[in-house]
Structures are given as C-alpha cells and as structure tokens.
C-alpha cells in the first residue's frame, strides 16, 4: 500500500499527489472514496422553496439555553407542587423523618434535574447529551424502591386493596397538569426525536406526581407507596410510551 489511508474532509475537493497514488492501490479507500463521488442532480435550493422562505422571513428570538429551559421546567414542578399542596395539604412532608426526607427528596431532585434537562435538550436540535437517559431512569427507580422498601417496610399492611385510593387520582392529576404545561412550553422548540421527547415529558410528569404525593401523603407504608404512588408513575409512563410508540 502507498501511504496512510485517506481521510475524508467535506471542505476539500481535491486530492494531493500522494493521496492519488494511495487511492490507485488501496481497495478499501477506493470503496470509501466511491461513496464521496459527486452524485449528480441539482445542488442548489429550489426557487419555490427559497421564495416561500423569503416571503415568511421575520426576525426570531433564539430559544433560551438548555440550563435555562431546564430551570423553567423545574419551576413548573414547583408550581404544580404549590397548587396541589394548597388543595390537598402537606401532612406527608411532616410525617417523614429527616433521613427519609433527605433520601426521598434527593431521588426526586435528581430525577427532576435529569428529566428537566432531557426535555429541554429535546427542544433544541443538535443538543449534546452527556448522560444516557435509560440507565439513569432505571437507577432512579431502583433507588426509589430500595429507599421505600428499607424505610417503610411493613409486612402486616400487604392486604389486597378494596378500592382505588385517592393518592392515585392526586398523582395522576399532578402528572396531567405537569404534562399539559410542559407541552405548552415545548411547542416553542423543534423535536427531532419524538419518541424520546414524549417519554421524557412522561418521566418528568411522573417525577411531579411522586413529588406531590411525597409531600401530601401521610401513609408511610411500603405497600401503599408501591401500589398507589408507584402505580400513578407507572400509569403515566405507560401512557407516554403508548403515545410515543407511534413515532418510533
């Protein structure tokens, strides 16, 4: 082989003499270089498209940065919490021990931060994601289950439910309100991955439901928390996944 393999540079349109010699001998580069040949056809914008764009040309204000958008979603969570606490009370918060408060709100805080950033990033095409969402979501679920299981385990309370508890409706209500406000905000952005966007909004709504229920609900039993608090999150996530599946 003559010299190192070719490096493709879209800005450069000519080959050096050394590269030409290499290309004449290297089958791998011949294959790759073949893909970079001009492919024919027009490489100019269509007149009708340009005219349409020019007719619709108005100044636009760039969206806020991802951290600012995430902060807006965080504010939405706090607003939903304030509304539901006003309506349903905050007995649960005062029933929790300082240790339980720290652990529960740490998990909720991490979830709120991760999913707020995720929804904000979905609004801006080409945003850089440094944290993979699915492993974080799974880790949060495991952490939540572990904390509830360790702190609120009570074998005597594992009886079949007689009726749907109000916590489910409160959780679903908080999630729906969060999803509705969140959807209004994300309309300013441009989704390029609908599946991830809808699932992220679903996850953020689930965190909102958990936050409201943790502050509201004074029943500190693992069975109750798993069934009704966890149930509302599962229903929200399932609904988001069913809607998002259409766009996969």
């Amino acid at each position: 082989m003559n010299g190192p393999h070719l490096q493709f540079d879209p800005e450069r349109h000519t080959l050096t003499e050394a590269e030409r010699r290499h290309l004449a001998e290297c089958r791998s580069c011949q294959l790759l270089f073949g893909s970079a040949e001009p492919l024919g056809g027009a490489s100019r914008p269509n007149a009708a498209v340009v005219n349409t764009i020019l007719k619709d040309l108005k100044p636009v204000k760039p969206l806020p940065s991802v951290p600012r958008l995430a902060l807006i979603f965080g504010t939405v969570l706090i607003a939903v919490l304030a509304i539901f606490t006003y309506l349903t009370g905050a007995k649960g918060f005062f029933m929790l021990s300082p240790m339980a408060q720290m652990l529960m709100f740490s998990i909720i805080g991490v979830g709120a931060t991760v999913f707020s950033f995720s929804v904000a990033q979905q609004m801006i095409p080409g945003s850089l994601r440094r944290v993979p969402l699915l492993p974080v979501a799974i880790a949060l679920c495991v952490a939540f289950a572990a904390v509830v299981g360790l702190l609120f385990w009570d074998v005597t309370s594992w009886a079949p439910p007689q009726m749907i508890h109000s916590c489910l409706w409160i959780g679903l209500g908080a999630a729906v309100v969060t999803a509705a406000i969140g959807s209004l905000i994300v309309r300013r952005g441009a989704w390029t991955d609908w599946f991830s966007s809808i699932v992220s909004i679903g996850a953020l709504s689930g965190v909102s439901a958990l936050l409201v229920l943790t502050v509201h609900c004074p029943i500190l039993k693992a069975s109750h928390i798993f069934l009704w608090h966890g149930g509302s999150i599962v229903i929200v996530m399932l609904a988001a996944w069913i809607v998002a599946r259409r766009y996969r």
């Binding site: 492919l39 764009i53 969206l63 801006i124 095409p125």
Partner: protein, 202 residues
C-alpha cells in the same frame, strides 16, 4: 421541483463553518441576502447527507428542499455560539426518519407488484460500481451503525457532532463506530465468509 436558483446569485457553496454560523444569525434577524446565501450553502451539504445513504439517494434533492423548509420553521431553536452543522444534520435526520415513516405507511396500503415485470421498464442504474460496492459493504451493518459510520467517514463529522446530530451521547457513538469498524474489518479481510458472519452479528 425543477426550477433552481442560480448558484452564482447565492454565493459559493463551500463556505466555512464560522461563516455559516454568522449567516445563521443574520437569518434569525430576517436578513434576506444572508438567508439566500445560507440556503445556497446548506443545500449541497444536505444533498450530500441524503445521497450518502443508499435508501434516501434517489430522493436526496427532494429531502434536502424539505429540510430547508423545516430549518426555516425551526430557526429560533439555533443558539448563537453552538455548532451549526449538527443542528442542521439533526433536522435532516428527522426529515429522513419522517420519509421512512411516510413510506412505511404508504407501502402498507399498496398492492405488491411483480418486481420482474417492473424490471423490464426500469432505466439502467446510473450509480458507479464503486458506489454499489460501497453500499453492499455497508449493508452488512445495522442501520444505526451505518448512519454513524457514514456521518463520521463520508460526511467528515466529529464524534461530538455525530452525537449531537443523532440525539445520542459521544460514548454511544464511539461504541457504534467501533462495532461497525470491527464488522467491516472482518468483511474486508474475508470477503467471501465475512458477509454472512456480519449479518449474523447485526
């Protein structure tokens, strides 16, 4: 879509990236001349993007024009100081996915026809043999790896740019590229045995 703007009127196509980003800011401020120059500069990049993948090559021009309209509708989402090309390619990738989705739903409603009958009327392929071999080579890879490899090696994007354009993380892009290289290496080293092995892995 057959009437085209004269390229001389919109300036040279091979504008450097910082110029493109400056033009984008003028576009956001509704500067008509900058908008025309930017559209003229982005169009060949978009056609190249769609033409680099065999499944969108026949409709590369139409998809590029569609992407320009989408870019216009999403222009407020470009943030000054951020790299422009990953933003453009993320929108282009979404156009491509939408194209597949539309095709899939259309095919579900169509009656299948005998391919042999159609072959009689088909025009001879115009692609170079190199391009066909390249497509055959890449057909050994799953779609996600093929996309990453094309962006890295044909479009000349960096790992971070590909991560931005594909809504992924740099780590995931590196992993996909590594797997693609491994598969291609085995295919190129053992052309006869490699293809079936690679398909099994995929």
């Amino acid at each position: 879509m057959d009437e085209h703007i004269d390229s001389e009127a919109i300036g040279p196509n091979n504008v450097d990236v910082s110029t493109l980003e400056a033009l984008m800011l003028h576009y956001q401020a509704a500067d008509a001349a900058a908008t025309e120059r930017l559209l003229g500069a982005l169009c060949p990049l978009l056609i190249r993007f769609f033409a680099s993948m065999p499944d969108t090559r026949p409709v590369a021009d139409d998809l590029a024009q569609d992407t320009l309209l989408r870019i216009h509708r999403a222009r407020q989402t470009y943030r000054p100081g951020e790299p422009l090309l990953p933003w453009v390619y993320a929108i282009a990738r979404h156009t491509r996915i939408d194209h597949f989705r539309r095709n899939r739903s259309r095919r579900a409603k169509e009656e299948p026809v005998d391919a042999a009958d159609l072959q009689k009327f088909a025009a001879p392929p115009q692609e170079s043999s190199n391009l066909r071999e390249f497509d055959a080579l890449l057909s050994n890879l799953p779609e996600s790896q093929r996309e990453v490899l094309t962006m890295l090696k044909v479009l000349g994007m960096t790992v971070e740019e590909v991560a931005r354009a594909t809504s992924s993380t740099p780590g995931a892009v590196k992993q996909k590229a590594h797997r693609a290289y491994e598969t291609l290496r085995s295919v190129l080293e053992r052309p006869s045995q490699g293809q079936s092995t690679a398909k099994e892995r995929a």
